[in-house]
């Protein structure tokens, strides 16, 4: 039986056992729930936090000044965003505005960052020194806008000129590069997320065989390389099933919410190698990333003897993945530096770095080189892991030859 036939037997068993187990439903549902919950909480908390973090300035002025300032703020916010300027809250002026301003700043219920009093000609901004950088500058902008408007109205003049004419083009270099960088990061994020989800599964997969003693049966029947490779293939299949399902559900969701048009508009900005090739590359690099990190985790996990050890190993493994992601992210928007080359060449960061490369650059031949390089490392790591397993876990003196070249048969004097 060849190595691949043996791997297939192992992979088929692992795949069926995992996919038809109850825990697989949890595996499929958990990320969807997590993403949904994160989006919901993130959105709600984000809005609340933005409102909380937006400074509020008390307007202690006559009603005309307050109206002019509010109108100026609305105009500025219209060109930028609501969060770009402090909010105003109008307060009727007391007899002694200076005392009133200090009282307002001390009010714990209202939480004013500053108090703007006086008139447009002689405005007074009361508040601590630290507001100058953000609130102070923006309040001055609003005041200047209000003054300019008031001056134009006083002169009965208006700003002349036609509105900006839009000439729509397919692309703009700066915009295109920015979008491609976003695609590169999205591709890296996708590969990273799915791989990290399977890290613990990969780490613990050999513990099952060790705890139920099946490993002895496997080791006597097939090469350990086949056991490792089979397990990796099974986990890859499982992850692709998950990925397919998640993408399917997301697509259905998109259609359901009539956002398909937005999606259809996206391909106008395509990755440098084009959508079809990039999607194929994404799948290939996902496979390569999974096999590389998977082989490493399987090798590390094979050394553990129980789930507690796996849990201990999980944290450094997650950190390792994060480091690899950070390294791969250096390739987005940069070129030629030693760090970028390290990301391309280091086997563990290479797949994610090359996904980014595909999004940003048109050349295809580097992908062939990269995939061959990554495949070579998958083989090396599997062989190394299998030999380590044989020597440390099965207590064999030798893990066997690293490369299995055929050995000449021993000739014995007493051979028949």
């Amino acid at each position: 039986m060849s190595l691949f036939e043996a791997s297939w037997v192992i992979a088929r068993r692992d795949f069926i056992a995992q996919v038809f187990s109850r825990s697989f439903i949890l595996f499929l549902v958990a990320p969807m729930l997590l993403i949904g919950f994160s989006l919901f909480v993130g959105s709600a908390a984000g809005n609340a936090e933005r409102n909380l973090n937006q400074p509020v300035v008390a307007l202690v002025t006559d009603s005309g000044t307050a109206e002019a300032l509010e109108a100026a703020r609305i105009r500025l916010v219209g060109g930028t965003s609501e969060q770009s300027f402090p909010r105003f809250r109008t307060v009727a002026p007391a007899e002694n505005v200076s005392v009133q301003a200090k009282a307002l700043l001390a009010d714990q219920n209202e939480n004013y960052s500053a108090v703007l009093s006086g008139t447009l000609d002689r405005p007074v901004l009361t508040g601590p020194e630290r507001i100058d950088d953000y609130t102070g500058k923006r309040v001055r902008l609003i005041v200047e806008e209000a003054r300019r408007t008031a001056a134009l109205e006083g002169a009965r003049a208006a700003v002349r000129g036609e509105p900006v004419v839009r000439d729509v083009t397919a692309n703009a270099a700066g915009n295109l590069q920015m979008l491609r960088r976003s695609m590169a990061q999205a591709g890296q994020g996708l590969i990273f997320t799915v791989t990290i989800m399977l890290a613990t599964l990969l780490l613990s997969t050999l513990v099952e065989e060790k705890s139920n003693k099946v490993i002895e049966v496997l080791a006597a029947a097939v090469p350990l390389d086949a056991v490792f490779l089979g397990k990796l293939i099974a986990m890859l299949g499982i992850s692709l099933v998950g990925l397919g399902l998640w993408v399917g559900i997301l697509s259905v969701g998109y259609t359901f919410f009539q956002m398909l048009q937005d999606w259809m508009a996206l391909p106008k900005v395509s990755p440098a190698v084009g959508w079809p090739v990039w999607i194929v590359l994404l799948l290939l690099y996902y496979t390569a990333n999974f096999m590389l990190l998977g082989a490493l985790f399987l090798g590390i996990g094979g050394q553990a003897s129980n789930i507690r050890e796996i849990q201990t190993i999980s944290m450094p493994v997650t950190l390792l993945q994060l480091m690899v992601l950070l390294l791969a992210m250096t390739t987005v928007g940069q070129e030629g530096s030693a760090l970028v080359w390290t990301a391309y060449l280091l086997p563990f960061s290479s797949p994610m770095a090359m996904v980014a490369y595909g999004a940003q650059y048109e050349a295809l031949w580097p992908h062939l080189l990269a995939l061959a390089w990554q495949a070579l490392w998958v083989v090396l790591i599997i062989r190394l892991s299998a030999r380590l397993f044989r020597t440390t876990v099965l207590k064999s003196t030798s893990g066997g030859a690293f490369f299995g070249f055929p050995r000449p048969r021993r000739k014995r004097a007493d051979a028949a």
Binding site: M1, V9, E209, S396, G400, A416
Partner: protein, 316 residues
């Protein structure tokens, strides 16, 4: 490898963390034989079998399995039941057997069909779709044994196959081993239970302290000791006592001693002439247990007895 041998090993040595487990094992197992490797726990039986099957590499020495120096090359025609039984608990019995066959190159469909036949022939037809986790320990061991032979191997290696089995399952296993041998399969099994080896094996290797103490036919091991004579006389004393050999001991009213080298007849005449009044005289060929004690030593025999007691406790 010599013709007619299913397995051959020379000078196998293995240490774990500097502690020698096997100190130079030579074995030659004829094709079609039922071959027992006999010794107490810790003697080196499992390590020897694992080296023979290529699960671990020896520190030195070499072995040949069905003509292959790399044991995995013969994997398709070898079946192995490890000492520590291992099955996937969620698998059905049929799938477990078929999977073990598939590991040895048997197509899954064929494996499933053969699994059903094996289960039905052995009265386990009702368990075809039952998951392993729902079976008793003995039954799960039987399933693994079926998985070991489902691909019809030429050589079956069983490590302590009787361990933990009750009497019924032990009987079933003995029957199965005989059937396999009758079909031309070579069966090697290790055991610390002497009577299994005595009942089943044509040849044995007695192993203790990591060394082979005896290797050959069972009859040859037993013949290493002279037959035992048991004598009961009507007269407690008299001139006949001079006819008894020096090693004669009295146990429960019987005299016991080894059969004299010149046979029983001269002694018998002296006993009659000396007025012994013979009530009972028997000559018994020595059992494998006695041979084992003589070959491996009393301490090894005591260790085997302790292992057996532990086994009985486990099976109960």
């Amino acid at each position: 490898m010599r013709a007619g041998l299913a397995l051959e090993a020379h000078g196998l040595v293995k240490s774990f963390d500097g502690n020698p487990a096997v100190r130079g094992i030579d074995l030659a197992v004829p094709e079609g034989a039922i071959y027992g490797i006999l010794g107490p726990n810790g003697a080196g039986k499992t390590t020897t079998l694992r080296m023979l099957l290529g699960i671990i590499e020896p520190d030195s020495g070499h072995r040949s399995l069905l003509g292959h120096e790399r044991p995995l090359e013969a994997a398709k025609i070898v079946g192995y039941l490890p000492e520590e039984r291992g099955l996937y608990p969620a698998m059905s019995t049929r799938e477990a057997i078929a999977f073990m066959g598939a590991l040895r190159g048997l197509p899954l469909d064929t494996g499933r069909k053969r699994a059903e036949i094996l289960l039905r022939e052995n009265g386990l037809g009702d368990y075809v779709d039952k998951p392993i986790k729902s079976l008793s320990k003995g039954m799960a061991q039987t399933i693994q044994l079926f998985g070991t032979i489902v691909h019809k191997p030429k050589l079956v290696v069983l490590d302590e196959p009787f361990s933990g089995l009750d009497a019924i399952n032990q009987g079933r296993l003995e029957h199965l081993i005989r059937d396999e041998a009758a079909a031309g399969t070579t069966v090697i099994f290790s055991t610390h239970v002497i009577h299994h080896a005595e009942r089943l094996c044509e040849r044995i290797a007695i192993i203790a302290g990591g060394r082979i103490r005896f290797e050959g036919p069972v009859s040859e091991a037993r013949d290493r000791l002279r037959p035992q004579v048991r004598l009961r006389t009507r007269n407690a004393d008299g001139p006949w006592r001079r006819a008894l050999p020096g090693d004669a001991v009295e146990v429960d009213g019987h005299w016991q001693f080894e059969l004299p080298k010149n046979g029983i007849e001269p002694m018998l005449k002296a006993l009659i002439d000396g007025g012994a009044g013979i009530d009972e005289l028997s000559i018994e060929r020595r059992g494998l247990h006695d041979a084992f004690v003589a070959i491996a030593g009393e301490s090894a025999a005591q260790a085997m007895e302790a292992d057996l007691q532990a086994d009985l406790g486990e099976a109960a």
